[in-house]
């Protein structure tokens, strides 16, 4: 037996079902099964089981998020020094990035983890590894300037209202990380409205403050009658800069390249649904193209809404849509469950995202609300698909003449 395991087992008499500290059993169980694969053997058929379990499934998502996390850290430091206007050495950029980002991630995991453990203890179920993902996805949707107390409030809302009151992972209707993000958006719009993102302010106050707008907000704010692309370029948003991601924005979502690496990992391992991701990208790009056509067809409309003329592929690089489609929409619990339903669900997320971006006067980024709305609609999509499936089954049975 592994020495560490032997050490863990020494605690069992106190924490086990008879022990004085039995309320802590979920914590012990989670620690033990986190460190060591469980010893349980099969009790009924099938007597052999595959090596894949939910832990590995979730950790693969975390691996896919690593490029986004690393880039988010670097970008936070980069934006900080851009705000200061100094030319800091690379280690300094990384260091400052870590200084801003790590507390946010730690707060998210610590506060969210507290609720997770509390519910596990009260409801006497295991601690679910799904939180591993929620706890990192949520900070990645936040700007680096977010006050830590808001991170704590947001993740609490996401874990408790978004997930635990439904019974935990597997029973929730909405994506918990996005629920947390949406809560912050509606409760504290000043810090997180999506119009403009505050880069981190230097503590010493060498500059008064520095605000920079996200590309989506800039495109929307293009004065009537002028060219939105030029307006974007003037603000420093080029296709290239947005694809690379050295842009102000939420931590994990600015770099198309980092998200694309994550997408590749999710698709190659089969953990992310290709149907949802491709459906989402298809919806985003075709709806973006349709908006372009609308602008082309009517010069008056194009004049009044310069943002409509932004080429459709900009939809992919601006804002958090790509990140949302790859990492949020693919949450299997809140997504549609049928194969056809996944295409529809993904497509409509892309479609609604562009719809909100182009036609909603209040809010430039529509991806978060599009995904949450489709989370709610997913069971309806599945219902329609399943009814069609039942009809096709009936036709299949009736099609057999012999016998």
């Amino acid at each position: 037996m592994h020495p560490l395991l032997r050490w863990l087992h020494r605690w069992k008499p106190w924490i086990g079902p008879e022990g004085r500290w039995r309320a802590l059993w979920p914590v012990y169980e989670a620690t033990e099964t986190f460190l060591f694969t469980p010893e349980e053997v099969t009790s009924g058929p099938p007597y052999i089981r595959d090596r894949l379990d939910i832990k590995r499934y979730m950790i693969t998502v975390l691996y896919a998020l690593v490029p986004c996390i690393l880039f988010g850290i670097y970008n936070a430091g980069y934006q900080y020094h851009r705000a200061l206007g100094d030319a800091a050495p690379l280690w300094r950029v990384w260091w400052d990035g870590l200084r801003f980002v790590v507390p946010i991630i730690v707060t998210s995991y610590a506060v969210g983890g507290f609720w997770e453990v509390l519910f596990a203890m009260v409801r006497k179920h295991e601690i679910n590894e799904g939180f591993l993902i929620t706890g990192i996805l949520f900070p990645l949707t936040l700007p680096p300037t977010i006050p830590l107390w808001q991170v704590a409030v947001g993740i609490s809302f996401g874990v408790v209202i978004g997930k635990e009151i439904f019974g935990g992972v597997g029973y929730n209707v909405l994506n918990p990380a996005l629920t947390a993000r949406a809560f912050l958006y509606f409760a504290y719009p000043a810090q997180i409205s999506g119009d403009s993102v505050w880069a981190v302010l230097p503590a010493t106050g060498t500059v008064d403050g520095f605000t920079s707008a996200t590309a989506l907000a800039v495109a929307r704010a293009t004065p009537v009658g002028t060219d939105a692309l030029q307006h974007l370029a003037q603000a420093g948003h080029t296709l290239r800069s947005m694809a690379v991601g050295l842009e102000p924005g939420s931590l994990g979502e600015t770099s198309v390249i980092a998200v694309a690496i994550g997408m590749a990992i999710l698709l190659l391992t089969g953990v992310g649904s290709a149907r949802i991701i491709l459906g989402g990208l298809l919806g985003l790009l075709t709806t973006g193209a349709a908006v372009n056509l609308l602008a082309k067809a009517s010069p008056a409309l194009a004049n009044a809404h310069p943002a409509w003329s932004v080429p459709f592929y900009y939809q992919l690089v601006m804002g958090g849509a790509f990140f949302g489609i790859v990492f949020m929409a693919t949450d299997p619990v809140s997504a549609a469950a049928t194969n056809e339903g996944k295409w529809i669900y993904g497509f409509l997320i892309g479609f609604l995202t562009v719809l909100v971006r182009a036609f909603n006067p209040a809010y430039p980024e529509g991806n978060m609300l599009a995904i949450l709305f489709m989370n709610v609609m997913a069971p309806l999509i599945d219902y329609v698909v399943i009814q069609a499936h039942i009809r096709s089954r009936r036709r299949y049975l009736e099609g057999f003449a012999h016998g």
Binding site: E39, R51, Y63, T338, I390
Partner: protein, 460 residues
């Protein structure tokens, strides 16, 4: 779409051949006889056994020792001549097993043999009477529900399963070669039980060489593809799916020599062929064995399995039944799979993508190379969780069924929905592969088994 042509080959893509090590070789060996033999009538689903003999009474091979209270014509017979040594009762005083000590002379009760020519024109009632009075009727099944067939109805078709895609089942070709005449007689007997077609479902490789009588009323259909291409539910689904009110009867090709023997030999068969395989089996011992019906499993395993804590499974590793080392061979058991109990714990294995060893999932780098036979154990490889991943189960069942939603309907006890989604087309064994693959380690087999039992009890 109306189908009138019966295909002679069906290719299926969904499924998985689990690369379990030590598959039984297509060779046949004898097993030495040890100890008592047992008649275990409770193995037959739905039977309420009543005793016909007393302890101390001597019996012949083929002497009925038990009958079914619900259908007294159905009897279960002694597989050896000898003396009744004991009766073991189970819960609620049900007859668990009748133990018989063989006298070594193996005298058989002689019934009137039927020639193969006669059999080809026999009345269904004659065959049913003979199979019932010898207990061989309990080898057949009626779908839906996999019950012992009700002899007063005529099935719309009979399905004979000659495949062995699950790890591990006996090879029907080995059995057919060992008992060629009985095998053919068994097929003819099934032929007389229906006015509809008899589908003989064989592995792709057996096309053309499968020993089926050359008669147009037999339809030999080759099924190609990974497990569960060899499952009877899959065959029925693709050849003659059951519509409301219809029944089909099913048989396993490996049981045909037993059925044939009581008809053309006129006596109860002494032995059957059982395949022995699995990582717990010693090197070179994984093959087919001829073993007396109802004899101790130890006679088969002794000296042929490895040392250590073992899991002995009557049937295949996916859908069989675990039995103890001192159990007796169940009548329907045609294969024994032996696994090692695997309680080994690995540090942080879930986070390591380089883990060696097989997985169907590409989250393991090992899934990118072609699988090699592996000594899989009984470890569950993870904790039980809620259903999280969707659309996964359907990749392991080549039928027009959405398993996620079917399982949820059964769990919600929404029987109307479950039937519309295809519950009656399934047998618990059909979801065993999906359960093998399930990352949430959900007991799909148990859910389907209980759902079908509830439905059968309530009557549809």
């Amino acid at each position: 779409m109306t189908r009138t042509n019966i295909p002679d080959r069906i290719e299926l893509r969904r499924g998985l051949d689990v690369p379990l090590a030590a598959a039984p070789k297509a060779e046949l060996d004898e097993v030495a006889e040890v100890g008592l033999v047992a008649v275990q009538p409770l193995e037959a689903p739905g039977v309420k056994p009543r005793l016909l003999v007393k302890v101390g009474e001597s019996v012949l091979r083929g002497s009925p020792v038990v009958y079914d209270k619900a259908r007294p014509e159905l009897k279960f017979c002694s597989p050896s001549s000898g003396t009744v040594r004991g009766v073991e009762l189970g819960p609620r005083r049900a007859l668990l097993r009748i133990l018989i000590e063989p006298d070594g002379r193996d005298r058989a009760l002689v019934l009137e043999p039927m020639s193969e020519r006669l059999l080809q024109r026999a009345m269904a009632e004659q065959i049913i009477e003979r199979l019932s009075s010898t207990g061989m009727w309990a080898l057949l099944r009626e779908r839906p529900f996999s019950k012992i067939p009700n002899p007063s109805v005529r099935p719309k078709a009979v399905f004979v399963n000659a495949m062995n895609t699950a790890p591990f089942q006996a090879d029907a070709m080995v059995v057919a070669q060992a008992y060629p005449e009985e095998f053919r007689a068994g097929l003819w007997a099934l032929r007389r039980l229906t006015d509809g077609p008899v589908f003989v479902c064989v592995p792709d490789r057996a096309g053309g060489v499968f020993p089926c009588p050359d008669d147009p009323t037999f339809h030999v259909v080759r099924f190609a593809g990974p497990h569960p291409a060899g499952n009877t539910s899959v065959h029925i689904h693709h050849l003659a799916p059951i519509r409301p009110g219809e029944v089909v009867w099913t048989a396993r090709a490996v049981d045909l020599p037993l059925i044939g023997a009581v008809l053309i030999r006129g006596e109860y068969p002494a032995k059957r062929i059982v395949a022995l395989g699995g990582p717990g089996v010693r090197e070179g011992a994984a093959r087919h064995y001829r073993i007396r019906l109802g004899s101790p499993i130890a006679g088969l395993t002794q000296g042929r399995v490895g040392a250590g804590e073992l899991r002995i499974i009557a049937g295949d590793a996916l859908s069989g039944t675990a039995i103890s080392a001192d159990a007796y061979l169940p009548m329907t058991c045609s294969s024994v799979t032996v696994l090692f109990e695997d309680r080994e714990r690995h540090l942080l294995a879930w986070a390591n993508p380089f883990t060696r060893g097989f997985s169907w999932s590409r989250t393991f780098l090992s899934a990118w190379r072609s699988p090699r036979p592996e000594a899989m154990g009984t470890n569950r490889h993870g904790a039980v969780r809620a259903m999280i991943v969707t659309g996964l189960y359907d990749r392991f069942l080549p039928m027009n069924i959405r398993l996620d939603f079917l399982i949820r309907a059964v769990l919600a006890q929404d029987w109307e929905e479950a039937i519309a989604l295809g519950l009656l087309e399934l047998d618990p064994e059909d979801v065993a592969l999906a359960a093998y693959a399930c990352p949430s380690k959900i007991d799909l087999v148990g859910i389907v088994r209980d759902g079908l039992a509830r439905l059968a009890a309530e009557g549809v």
